[in-house]
């Protein structure tokens, strides 16, 4: 059976879906991906769907599941390269892909992962009890 390759780029896993996703293939991808996150210790997953003409509720749910599973394993998921026609169809169908981050292309996806990672780290640092007792709000980033 065909499998979708999972490529490791530093601490990010890149999955490019080039064929129509069928049930077996999607399940295999979920398994492969979670195995690889654990074995490589990756902190980010990028799923490239540039080649997908059709994203239906099944594919949408699979993307959401992958995102949720990765999150449990401490890896953020970004779906990149969604085609305009696909986005319009999803909106028309009322499938908002909850819990899935998206970016226009792989480059922006990597950037988003970096920012999310930094943001998560910063908020973890911020949420520690402040030894000096200073409770003023952090400076506004704008």
């Amino acid at each position: 059976m065909d499998r979708i390759p999972v490529l490791a780029l530093g601490d990010v896993l890149l999955v490019s879906i080039q064929v129509d996703l069928e049930d077996q293939l999607a399940l295999a991808l979920q398994e492969d991906l979670s195995d690889r996150i654990v074995s490589t210790g990756a902190h980010g997953v990028i799923i490239d769907i540039t080649a997908l003409d059709i994203v239906d509720s099944f594919v949408g749910r699979m993307l959401a599941t992958i995102a949720a599973v990765s999150k449990v394993l401490d890896a953020e998921t970004v779906v990149v390269g969604m085609r305009p026609a696909v986005a319009i169809t999803l909106v028309e169908l009322g499938l908002p892909l909850r819990g899935v981050r998206t970016a226009l292309n792989v480059e922006l996806g990597l950037k988003l992962l970096r920012e999310v990672r930094l943001g998560a780290f910063a908020s973890a640092v911020d949420s520690r009890p402040d030894p000096t007792g200073d409770t003023s709000a952090p400076p506004d980033l704008q």
Binding site: V79, A87, L90, E92, P96, L104, L108, L112, Q142
Partner: protein, 283 residues
């Protein structure tokens, strides 16, 4: 029309070609008021005349018999070109109907067959005239459709404001067809330029009803699904009031009063700082 009549008509048309053409051309020329050159017009009429004569020669009994197919095609071409050049329907139809008068004088005094022949000829030409009219209307319709498509394209430009920021200044009423075009073009532009920020400026939209708002919301959601952020700008006070009184929820979508604020927001989000140069007078 029977085969005999066709043959007789064909004979007359061939024999009296120059005279009939001359009369026909001069009658048509009067209605054209110099918008077609003499040679052009004569050429067109000659083509039709010869096609008609050969249709009769081939035994065409009505305008839709196979022998008249060439003739119909030539007539259709003529009326299409007239429609495109802005001639009226009457002017186009008269070009065909004037042939009747021209031929009447040349039918000769062949007794009782003359009237019968002319009536049949007249019926045939009437059919041709109707065909002209129909082609004319179709051609006009095609022109209108073409123009409205062009208008649609023209009225929805997607402009790049900054590296990574594109904008769509919407002008005029938004209907479903137009908002579909806007949506597709904007999303395609996002992909092509890899811009994570898009600004929808609705300064030029005269009214926002629930349907227009729905279209805008769909565009914004589609952009978000693709991983870009959409900012709505140019909301005029009356429109803001309408939106609230209609109970339309824009939710988490960023809205700004004008394009400049929206651009500033997008630039800040991209980490671009804008500062005035420090001048001597300021120091």
């Amino acid at each position: 029309m029977d085969a005999e009549t066709s043959a007789r008509l064909a004979a007359v048309m061939v024999a009296r070609r120059e005279a009939v053409l001359e009369k026909w051309a001069s009658a048509v020329r009067d209605t054209m008021r110099g918008r077609l050159t003499r040679t052009e017009l004569t050429q067109q009429l000659e083509d039709i005349y010869d096609a008609l004569a050969s249709a009769f020669g081939a035994g065409a009994e009505t305008a839709d018999s196979p022998a008249a197919a060439d003739l119909l095609a030539i007539v259709a071409d003529l009326s299409r070109s007239r429609a495109r050049h802005g001639f009226t329907a009457t002017e186009t139809a008269v070009s065909i109907f004037a042939l009747k008068d021209a031929l009447l004088d040349e039918l000769g005094d062949s007794g009782e067959t003359r009237l019968a022949d002319f009536v049949k000829f007249s019926l045939f030409v009437d059919k041709l005239g109707l065909h002209t009219f129909e082609t004319y209307v179709n051609a006009r319709d095609a022109v209108i459709t073409e123009q409205s498509e062009q208008l649609l394209e023209l009225s929805t430009p997607v402009v790049k404001l900054w590296d990574g920021v594109v904008a769509v200044p919407l002008i005029g009423t938004l209907d479903s067809a137009r908002s579909q075009v806007v949506m597709e073009r904007l999303l395609q532009m996002l992909v092509d330029t890899g811009s994570p920020y898009a600004i929808l400026d609705i300064t030029g939209v005269p009214a926002v009803d629930t349907q227009v708002a729905q279209h805008i919301l769909k565009t914004v959601m589609a952009a978000q699904l693709m991983g870009a952020q959409c900012i709505i700008s140019g909301i005029r006070p009356q429109i803001a009031q309408t939106i609230v009184s209609l109970g339309i929820e824009f939710g988490e979508i960023v809205t700004k009063a004008n394009l400049s604020d929206a651009l500033q927001y997008a630039l800040r989000a991209r980490g671009v700082e804008i500062a005035r140069p420090v001048t001597r007078s300021a120091l």
